[in-house]
Symmetry: C2
Subunit: 206 residues, 2 copies
Amino acid sequence: MTDNYKLSTINSQLSLAPWRSLLAGSLHRNRSLVYARYLQLATVRASGRPANRTVVFRGFVENTNQLKFITDLRSQKVQEIDLYPWGEICWYFPKTREQFRIAGRLNLVNAGDSDPALQQARQIAWQEISEAARSQFAWPQPGENKAAASVFQQPAPDSIAPLDNFCLLLLEPEQVDFLELRGQPQNRSLYLRDGQGNWSVRSVNP
Amino acid sequence: MTDNYKLSTINSQLSLAPWRSLLAGSLHRNRSLVYARYLQLATVRASGRPANRTVVFRGFVENTNQLKFITDLRSQKVQEIDLYPWGEICWYFPKTREQFRIAGRLNLVNAGDSDPALQQARQIAWQEISEAARSQFAWPQPGENKAAASVFQQPAPDSIAPLDNFCLLLLEPEQVDFLELRGQPQNRSLYLRDGQGNWSVRSVNP
């Protein structure tokens, strides 16, 4: 192991936001519940009204604090994010009774994205999902009148190269509101990122 | 029982939206999970960005399709709703793997609301929550720097008359997007309310 390697490891550890260890703990203590990786993503519609849906957490982009999700280019939320790339996730952990509200900028990584690291992350995300999940990207247009059952019976897509409408969706957190429902009063901490990317934290009233 | 009474009972049954029986079924089949009554409410902040937090379902206003929640007049969401009274809840039922996305207009019922029926609903909501829940409305301003522990040690508020900052929050649904994750392809139905209050439904691609 060279000194350079050690240094870069230390730097990447240092870059982890202070709320990351809390979230890792919550994920670990709720790991018996498959739906502890489900959370709700709020965006804003073209009409200005809010939208909200369940998405599945797919881990972090390596050496960053960006949360990964996947979505279909044809889904409503892609249009919303194109117009207004801000989101807030609400993530409730049933076993430990904790809530993370994470607000930040959303970034869609589609087939045309020119960043090689992001394009690779998109490909890995495709390879990591199940064949059943990959098949959904070959289904007819989401939200349109339901197609005949036969239209859903497609051969499974290639497991290596993502279909063009497969998108990686990244959330770059700017604010994290962490609430522990256990306890009276409950503990609540507010994490804020400044313009230089540094995080501060304060305890607030629940 | 007079004929009039029978008629009004029938009318109120007729006024229930077609998705109500689905939601009642989901609540029933998930009743062993206390957190099946928790859901996520998205609103829009003054900045235009979305907000999202967990709230607890408190039932429906009698003879209507309005969902009841409670909130503190001092909470951030009250300011958001005052500015822009639209919300979307995302309600995931873990046991049956169903999701309801319910969008509609939000209505805050505070101490000054002049509608006697709504004021009564607000009082009943106060009486139905636990003493611990009522105590939270006597706590210091939510979101401010955490007060000393002693400030949270207040005598329990009156159990009959709500504190002034106790609000009932109502959601009047306009659109319900119901998704059953079980099955391949999943079933998805879209319920829409027209200007006359009539609901239509269609099956759509998931």
